[in-house]
Amino acid sequence: MKENTDTFLKGLWRENPVFVMLLGMCPVLAVSNSVINALAMGLATTFVLIGSSTLVSLLSRFIPKQVRIATYIVIIATFVTVVDYLIQAISLDLYRALGAFIQLIVVNCMILGRAEAFASKNPLGKSLLDALGMGAGFTLALLCLGSVRELLGNGSLLGVAIFGAGFQPWPIMILPPGGFFVLGGWLLLFAWLQERRTARRPEGGLAHAD
């Protein structure tokens, strides 16, 4: 049981695909200009991740080593096309806001990475948990960026104005440079937390020895 929870949780924090492993940066930067876009992109990516992990995990016994990457790419591209049509059916406005980045999920290195490194070597249940965790971690990262950018750039969250009318929005945060700055800021924060934890650990160990 503990192992299962760990498989799920590691994607959220310790091996977070964006903040720790620096994978799939393009969509993270491009569509995180508002919370709703970030959420939609996160969910779409999670769906593709779960779908492809399931199939890869089920089929991995039948796929010879030499053609595994090609097969994985075909499987991933299928699920991306599916998501593309689903989003068009749900809302055209959302589809326009995300633009080509839905189709570009196919080249998100995180998905191929999980298929190759985890799903092909583990049974279905574990692969599903891993995909869920990684997808949740990716969505979390997108939301972290999206909320900061929308809050500062537009003074709102999910389209609801948070600050009073006196707030002067910073449009730069919605524009491309804002994406780089905010992601850089989050990485700094994570690095700082990491450093504090490692700095404290040996001290704690010593105290215990005493």
Binding site: L59, V74, T78, L92, P171
Partner: protein, 236 residues
Amino acid sequence: MTEQPRGTSIRMIRALSGAAVLSGFLIVFVYQATLPRIAENRRRALEQAIFQVVPGAQHRITFVIGPDGQAQPEGQAKGEGLGIMVYAGYDGDGKLAGIAIEAAGQGYQDVIRILYGYSPQKECVTGMIVLDSRETPGLGDKIETDERFLKNFECLDVRLNQQQTALLHSIESVKRGEKTQAWQIDAISGATISSKAVSKMLDESTRQLLPLLAANLKRIREAGEEVSRQDAKTAK
């Protein structure tokens, strides 16, 4: 791999084609399942935009203006190479309320696409909405929200000359507050390039299309009346 080379290559082909067949089925299934919803979404978005720029419109018929300058209802148009699409809006009695036309041009950051309504009776542009733009938030994107700017398009003068071959006055953009004529557009300060871009694409598009529409006006009017006659018949 411990198998013999031939066995491996057969397995490789089998795996690849298996994956391809599986994904083919999945894609075609989802495509077929979502197609009606997507078409419906597209239609609704388009009609919403058309009815916004053509006040009073309740129905629409899409016309295609071919290379010969003849407007044909969509679906009846024949010949190679699609022409320009215009959307005629009719009121409840089948009378022509106006024609919605798409225009595009380079803005500040990227191409801006707009839809504007043209009323042949009033000889003016009756509305404009931005379909697609990547203008700077807070500056260039005011062309979508600035009330004073949008007021320009309540009735922007696009009268044709006597022979119905060209615009009497070309549409031009002037500094905020300096608008004196009905064919001028009061630009937004702080979004000068974007407002200029809108007036330029309007000018180019009306210059090209309005004479063509004038020549086809009779047919476009009749198409709406015919539809409403048929509707009345089926209602009986």
